[in-house]
């Protein structure tokens, strides 16, 4: 697994440990040793860097995995072009290197995550077969990954599964994402400056997303496919923030209209999820209220700390 220490990765690792999986995490060389010590043999750690794609092949060969779940990458959706090369190296070039090594190792499945921003400015709900219209170097690099893996599947039978998560949230997520930023402000009793908040977003709880990743990795019918994973619950950003402040019992309040909107902001984000339902039997089951309560509860106890990779009772 790459990105195993990221927000989604941590939740997936915990679920996989419960399933009795043998996990190997790719970790930046500078952190690999510390991480290995922290995990005390329960999870294997191998050093490798996504921004140095040439290092990845040997790592995959050493791990000799049955399944690769590639969550790591460059994820800054900024619109400016100053870090375009980094986005393409870390997302496209690293994925190409991992996929080549995965092919050599004969993996059963190669699961990776793209972004709802690959759809760009189009009418909702977004169906997987819509053309890709990315809005930033980040989403353009993810779209390039989708094309590359689709080609590898169609031409070489490579078992790629391309998941498009729709705004995942949950315990242990950190700012500058909307939900944790609003929660931390609310718990601190601060006001929350934000845009008008009229744009809609589809929030998907991390446990639901993890369930989709797990079943996608093991379902032969998922290979070669792009699959949206979204909760189907569309809310305005303002509604989301107001709910957070209400559930937190905060003395602060949202301040809509005090921040200028990002260039080319998407007005509505909503997934068509029929394909995931049909192929994976996947459906989000966590209501927004339930998910927000869990997420706020974690932040109350642990601030902006990520969830530990190994559950306490494991």
């Amino acid at each position: 697994m790459t990105g195993g220490t990221g927000f989604i990765g941590r939740h997936l690792v915990r679920r996989l440990l419960g399933c009795g999986a043998d996990i190997t995490l790719l970790a930046r060389p500078a952190h690999a040793q510390d991480l290995a010590a922290e995990l005390s043999g329960k999870i294997c750690v191998l050093p490798g860097a996504l921004d140095d794609p040439a290092t990845l092949g040997p790592v995959v060969a050493e791990a000799n995995p049955q399944i690769i779940i590639h969550l790591g990458g460059y994820s800054d959706p900024a619109r400016d072009l100053s870090r375009s090369e980094q986005a393409m190296t870390v997302n496209l070039m690293a994925t190409m290197a991992l996929a080549q090594a995965a092919m050599d190792a004969g993996v059963e499945a190669f699961v990776t995550t793209g972004t709802s921003e690959e759809y760009g400015h189009q009418a909702v709900p977004f169906h997987e077969d819509l053309p890709m219209k990315p809005l930033s170097p980040y989403s353009a690099s993810k779209a390039a990954v989708t094309l590359w893996l689709g080609m590898l599947h169609d031409t070489h039978g490579f078992p790629a599964v391309m998941i498009r998560p729709f705004l995942c949230y949950g315990p242990g997520q950190t700012p500058p994402k909307l939900v944790p930023s609003a929660i931390l402000a609310a718990l601190a009793g601060q006001d929350f400056p934000m845009t008008s908040g009229q744009q809609t977003r589809e929030l998907t709880y991390v446990d639901d997303l993890v369930d989709g990743l797990l079943t996608a990795a093991l379902n032969p019918a998922a290979r070669g496919r792009v699959l949206n994973l979204g909760s189907g619950q569309e809310h305005t950003a303002l509604d989301i923030v107001e709910r957070i402040f209400a559930l937190s019992g905060s003395s602060g309040r949202p301040r809509p209209g005090t921040v200028t909107e990002r260039a080319s902001e998407m007005n509505r984000v909503l997934a068509e999820t029929e394909r995931a339902a049909k192929v994976l039997g996947w459906q989000a089951t966590t209501q927004l209220e339930t998910g927000l309560r869990e997420t706020i509860g974690w932040a109350r106890r642990h601030g902006d700390c990520p969830v530990p990779l190994i559950p306490e009772d494991f």
Partner: protein, 265 residues
């Protein structure tokens, strides 16, 4: 069969069902299974099929057989009455294979698999076995945010579960490299308590609630597994851990639910 003229035959077809079906339709279970195996085994002999593998079930062993059940426990005591019709037919089938070997020198062998699970299982609430039934219950509980899942019995009985792909592998192995009189057990050689199984399934499906064991419901026999010493000694061993098998079954179960391919009854 004459038209296909096979080199080898796997005889996996049978009329199967749970305790209730066995109990209410004993004549069908006995007759249909006798008919299926008699026709196929006899025809295989007539047209000179080189090898035939007949599949039975561990219910052929006596109710009070020692655990793990060795092959030589066969016909040493009375059968479990609830499915004896099916068991009697299966015993006749393996005996027919032995008889063909004895009288005609046919290379006909038999395999007796333990409880199976895996993709393609019967996930219907009414007709399913303990493992898919637990999986279905916990998925439902997770979706509904239920605080507890009820499990029949004390959770103490121990059972053995063989992953379906491992059985397929064992059958191919036996077809290639076993030629003997004895019907061989196919199993894992390890068992697990229903309570521990429930915990594993909970971790796989992401159910975090509690279990309510209903001890007023019957436990059944305290332990049931096969002795796989003989098959192991020939060089075959089950490869799929219960952990891996469960998570693969879960992915299949979810997909089956949505495609409406959950078989009923």
């Amino acid at each position: 069969m004459r038209e296909a003229s096979p080199d080898a035959v796997f005889l996996a077809a049978a009329k199967v069902g749970g305790i209730l079906a066995n109990d209410t339709r004993p004549a069908e279970f006995l007759h249909d299974n006798l008919a299926i195996q008699t026709n196929v085994i006899h025809t295989a002999h007539e047209i000179g099929v080189e090898k035939l593998l007949f599949l039975g079930s561990t219910c052929i062993y006596p109710r009070m057989a020692p655990q793990p059940m060795p092959e030589d426990a066969l016909l040493t005591g009375p059968l479990e009455p609830t499915n004896e019709w099916y068991a009697i037919a299966k015993i006749a089938g393996l005996k027919l294979c032995q008889a063909c070997r004895k009288q005609y020198g046919d290379d006909f062998i038999s395999a007796m698999p333990t409880n199976l699970y895996g993709p393609g299982d019967n996930y219907s609430p009414s007709g399913s076995h303990v493992l898919p039934a637990l999986m279905a219950k916990m998925c439902k509980a997770r979706g509904e945010g239920a605080a507890a899942v009820e499990i029949w019995g004390s959770g103490n009985p121990r059972r053995e579960f063989l992953y379906v792909d491992d059985l397929a592998d064992a059958l191919v192995f036996m077809m290639k490299s076993y030629s003997g009189d004895t019907a061989l057990n196919v199993g894992v050689g390890e068992d697990i308590s229903i309570a521990d199984l429930a915990r594993k399934i909970a971790a796989v499906v992401g159910y975090t609630g509690d279990f309510a064991f209903d001890s007023t419901k019957p436990d059944g026999t305290p332990r049931k597994l096969v002795d796989v010493t003989r098959l192991n000694a020939l060089g075959w061993q089950a490869q799929t851990s219960l952990d891996e098998g469960l998570v693969r079954t879960y992915a299949d179960y979810r997909a089956a639910l949505s495609s409406g391919s959950v078989r009923s009854g």
